[in-house]
């Protein structure tokens, strides 16, 4: 299971960050924030090369000693980030992908809500 899930706006500010309740939340804020470096770099290197449709799923961004950080960028440059523990060997790439897909669907549903203004902080109930 993921320890942290984040939705980051196009302008790189956090729309939504959720961590496991007993974890040090701030540490994950930093982890998610620093992973934006890698995401930005990937987006730039892709957009420079081709105009083709980009793969939304960016895969493993970078491994730290304790966590693995995965990234996903929508076409409107909304970034999804999932952090899982390095020791957790049960989650495979495919499962990460499907998690992102679900997250993307949930985000799309939320944007369709007429009471949501684009760019506002996401409140989860």
């Amino acid at each position: 299971m993921a320890v942290c899930v984040a939705v980051i706006a196009k302008e790189n500010y956090p729309l939504y960050i959720k961590t496991l309740p007993n974890e040090n939340e701030l540490k994950f804020h930093y982890t998610v924030h620093t992973s934006l470096d890698v995401i930005e770099e990937r987006i730039h290197s892709v957009s420079k090369n081709t105009n083709d449709l980009r793969e939304l799923y960016l895969g493993l961004l970078y491994p730290t000693e304790d966590y693995k950080v995965y990234g996903y960028v929508t076409n409107s440059r909304i970034k999804f980030i999932i952090v899982i523990e390095s020791t957790n060997a049960t989650i495979r790439d495919n499962e990460i992908r499907s998690m992102f897909r679900k997250l993307h669907n949930a985000y799309t549903d939320m944007v369709c809500n007429p009471f949501y203004t684009n760019g506002d902080i996401i409140e989860s109930t």
Binding site: P14, L26, D37, Y62, T64, E65, G119, D120
Partner: protein
């Protein structure tokens, strides 16, 4: 000589090299031979030792691939050993050395991936092998060392030419090293009590002269699974813990962090770098270097703020606040407090209240409460600093807080209520202050600064009430409420037609006499970083004149700049003219100004200029319109009329000007009238500048259509002229002007190769007056004087004219057309006929033909004179003769007319033998065919 020496050196080197290699080879063989006698169960330790020895000899032998192989085996053997708490340190120490060797050789072999995977394996194996719980810090120290050393190796390889990528570079290893170093510090804090004493028996005495790496000094050479003496073991641990306490951990962490920062900077990871800077700041904080921590944290807050990661920002600010308290940095303390009280700080309300109370205390010259979580002795020092300052009685120097760069608890939005103001009406500025502080707060002064400092005096509000007085007044801000101020003032005349903007807003916190902080916004506040980017775009814009008190604070407009427009001019200006104007004439225009203002105006300045359309300006580089203030004065593109000192209401003045256009088409004239009028602005009379500008169009047309054609002497149209032969130029002037035009005369300005056939040629169009569509025609007799056949330019024709109605007041204008160029051709023979204009019946009519040979050759000629019924004729009927070059032959005939009237002359046929057939056509244009014979009245 030199090459000989180097050759010898080379050979000597080789000799030594071979010797050394042979030696190392031999040594490794010896070790290998020894190894064959070992068995795995009893000599497991020696297996490691022997493989390492072999590998090391091979390395010295410069056979690094074999060396790597043996190092790897040594590592495997090491891994097979049984690990207990008592030999763990020794195993880790040795595996550390072997791992270092393997990684180093892998990097040297340019297989960095092997090095990285070896290192990962190494770390994974030993990560969980902590060993004795009391010495857990030793493990962290060891892990930190592993990462730091690998980072160094990696960096060295990069310096030798390896390329690293953003997600795999030494920075990560330095970062991990720093993380373990921090963990070591925390473990040390937990495990080593401060009151620990170094044991008297000194178990670490022999630590420097041990035979084997990684063994405990108090039980060297001991290989059993149990400790030999529990007492000694305990003392040894105590001694190690005591030593650990002496280590300054922060100074281990900080260099590692700064190495990592350098790497992340190099590999384009600004956010990771920023995170490490924060960690470094925290470490300085732990090392009690608070001012350095404050400086480091201050460097990164801006980025977190602009990217709007509020939780991280809050965390940094809280730490900064502690540092600022501990070093008593007044300015930082106030700035950070202001930001932590703001709406984006993720701080509980109670904490915000506490911060606000502290802020309040500061401005009362009291000592603020210490922040939580600080070290006890540092708090004491910090408190002492604050106390001495406040007890000293002298106020701190006022500070300025730049509000545009922080997300403060008070927000400001200033706005002009319109995009432009007339100079006679007061300018209105609305300024809203909105507080997000948890408690009400009072400011002592609010001032708005304008781009023109003269108006600053109108934008000041001072609150005289005491800071802790809860009376509602002009600068008492309640939480979540907006306080509106409206400022009004009249602009000065110098600022008319200029932009006026809000340069800044200053809000003074604390008493003006005592300790105070000025919160300064540049522009009118409403900072962009505060607002979500998207909402700014999507939400509806609020009109400037709306009632702001009902609008939500976030969507309020901010309008920092306005235009001061001049007063509406009340003047009737007209350009009187009777169009169309004619090309080249001095065209009279009258500018009529009527004062329709209520008061007398003064300093009336009028100017006329030609408006050049942008497209035209490029096409016609040369001006085609000239303005004259008077006919005698030089022309210009802009003329000014004489200054009128004053003009009473309903008084009217006319000014005249002339315009001359050199081609036809419409012209746009711009007339500007500026004047001053005294007006009453809220009880004060002041002179106000006004300006009226009108544009008026003038149609310009050509006065004449002049057509020029050439004819021969018989008035027949010709296309070519003959050299040396006279011809006529026919000028037809058709009047197009709707006004009658008087022609004063005409003139021909002939080119070089053309001259008048007569001595003087007078104009036939003198004092002629033409109405529209009238035509005047004149002929001029010309002669081409050239020698060679060519296109000749005849010259130009100009007529002097003026409108009949203008009379003598206006000088003559002149219209010039250029005459056509014609082809001039040479003729071999020219023929002149000399005869009277008419003859009388039965009287002698002498007729002379003069033939001129124009060629440079002798010409054979034959002529024949045909007989005619109308004449009797004497002279040669038929003749052959020669004409020398450039000489003449004269033929004389006497004719005797028999009939009156317009009769046919006897026809002369001339034939040149050399140019047979050519002459007939040539001569027919010259030789007259008829003559008028009068009846003789005498008979």
């Amino acid at each position: 000589m030199l090459s000989g020496l180097s050759c010898l050196l080379f050979r000597l080197e080789n000799a030594f090299y071979e010797l050394a290699q042979a030696y190392y080879h031999h040594e490794s063989r010896v070790v290998k031979a020894h190894r064959d006698h070992l068995n795995k169960t009893t000599h497991a330790l020696l297996f490691v030792r022997h493989q390492f020895k072999v590998a090391f000899y091979n390395e010295l032998k410069q056979d690094s691939h074999t060396a790597l192989k043996h190092y790897r085996q040594a590592y495997l053997h090491l891994h097979e050993l049984r690990i207990t708490d008592y030999n763990l340190l020794e195993i880790k120490t040795n595996s550390c050395i072997v791992n270092f060797k393997i990684c180093k050789l892998c990097f040297e072999h340019n297989t960095p991936l092997d090095a990285i995977s070896q290192f990962r394996r190494h770390v994974d194996i030993y990560k969980s092998k902590i060993g004795t719980a009391d010495l857990a810090f030793e493990h962290s120290a060891w892990m930190s060392k592993q990462f730091a050393v690998f980072g160094d190796l990696f960096e060295e390889a990069i310096r030798a030419g390896l390329t690293a990528i953003q997600t795999q570079h030494p920075g990560f290893y330095y970062q991990e090293a720093a993380r373990y170093a921090i963990a070591r510090k925390q473990l040390c804090r937990g495990l080593c009590p401060a009151e620990l004493k170094y044991p008297a028996s000194d178990p670490l005495a022999e630590a420097d002269k041990m035979e084997y790496y990684g063994q405990r000094p108090w039980r060297q050479g001991h290989q059993s699974l149990e400790a030999p003496s529990v007492q000694k073991e305990r003392e040894g641990i105590q001694a190690l813990q005591y030593r650990e306490c002496q280590v300054d951990h922060s100074w281990l962490v900080i260099p590692l962090l700064s190495s990592a920062i350098a790497q992340f900077k190099k590999y384009k990871s600004p956010r990771m770098k920023r995170y490490l800077v924060v960690q470094m700041g925290e470490e300085y904080y732990h090392a009690k270097d608070y001012s350095k921590a404050l400086a480091l944290l201050g460097r990164v807050t801006w980025e977190y703020r602009s990217e709007r990661w509020w939780s991280i920002l809050t965390n940094i600010l809280q730490l900064s606040l502690r540092c600022a308290y501990l070093v008593m940095s007044f300015e930082e303390y106030v700035t950070v407090s202001i930001e932590l009280m703001g709406r984006y700080a993720q701080v509980p309300r109670e904490e915000k209240i506490r911060i606000q109370m502290n802020l309040h205390k500061i401005f009362q010259d009291e000592v603020p409460e210490p922040e939580h979580g600080c070290e006890h002795d540092s708090v004491e020092k910090g408190r002492a600093l604050w106390t001495t300052i406040s007890a000293g009685g002298k106020s701190r120097s006022p500070i300025v807080v730049e509000m545009n760069s922080i997300t403060a608890f008070v927000e400001c939005k200033a706005c002009f209520t319109a995009d432009s103001f007339l100079c006679e009406s007061p300018v209105t500025v609305k300024l809203g202050l909105h507080s997000f502080a948890p408690m009400p707060i009072r400011f002592s002064q609010l001032s708005v600064r304008f781009s023109n400092e003269a108006y600053n005096q109108f934008g000041i509000v001072v609150d005289e009430n005491a800071v802790d007085d809860p009376i509602e007044s002009t600068s008492y801000l309640k939480p979540g409420q907006t306080l509106w101020h409206t400022f009004q003032f009249i602009v000065e005349q110098d600022d008319v037609d200029c932009n006026l903007s809000i340069a800044g807003v200053d809000l003074v916190l604390g008493s003006l006499e005592g300790c105070c902080a000025t919160l300064r916004w540049t522009d009118g506040g409403g900072d962009a970083i505060v607002h979500p980017f998207a909402t700014q775009v999507h939400r509806k814009k609020v009109a400037l004149n709306a009632d702001f008190s009902v609008v939500s604070w976030d969507v309020l407009p901010s309008n920092y700049s306005t235009h001061i427009s001049p007063r509406e001019a009340n003047l009737d200006v007209q350009l009187l003219q009777k169009g169309p104007a004619l090309v080249n004439e001095f065209y009279l225009m009258t500018v009529s100004i009527t004062n329709t203002e209520v008061a007398q105006i003064s300093n009336v300045r009028t100017s006329i200029s030609v408006v050049t359309a942008v497209a035209d300006a490029v096409a016609t580089a040369q001006p085609n319109t000239f303005l004259y203030e008077d006919i005698d004065l030089p022309c210009s593109q802009l003329i000014s009329m004489p200054l009128l000192e004053e003009l009473k209401p309903n008084q009217k003045v006319d000014n005249v000007a002339y315009v001359r256009c050199v081609d036809s088409g419409a012209r746009l004239m711009c007339i500007q009238v500026s004047y001053q009028i005294p007006i009453d602005i809220s009880g004060k009379m002041s002179m106000c500048n006004c300006m009226k500008e009108i544009t008026s169009s003038i149609e310009v047309c050509e006065p004449f259509n002049i057509t020029v054609s050439l004819t021969n002497m018989k008035f027949e149209k010709i296309e070519k002229v003959q050299l040396g032969e006279a011809f006529l130029s026919r000028m037809e002037v058709k009047c197009l002007s709707p006004w009658p035009v008087a022609l004063q005369g005409s003139s021909l300005n002939l080119a070089k190769l053309v001259k008048f056939a007569d001595e003087e040629s007078l104009s036939q169009l003198t004092d002629v007056s033409l109405k529209q569509n009238d035509c005047a025609v004149e002929f001029r007799c010309l002669l081409s004087s050239g020698q060679t056949p060519s296109e000749i330019d005849i010259g130009s024709y100009s007529i002097e004219w003026r409108r009949v109605q203008n009379g003598a007041a206006v000088p003559f204008a002149s219209t010039t057309v250029s005459l056509p160029t014609v082809e001039a051709e040479p003729i071999p023979l020219s023929l002149h006929v000399d005869m009277p204009a008419y003859g009388h019946m039965k009287a002698v009519l002498p007729l002379t033909y003069l033939l001129h040979n124009q060629t440079p050759f002798v010409q054979d000629m034959e002529i024949a004179m045909e007989s005619s019924e109308a004449f009797m004729l004497s002279g040669h009927k038929q003749l052959f003769f020669r004409i020398l070059p450039d000489s003449q032959h004269i033929l004389r005939y006497n004719l005797f007319p028999l009939f009156p009237g317009y009769v046919t002359l006897p026809r002369l046929r001339v034939n040149m033998v050399r140019y047979s057939g050519v002459l007939d056509q040539l001569l027919s244009s010259v030789v007259p065919t008829h003559i008028f014979i009068k009846v003789c009245m005498v008979l």
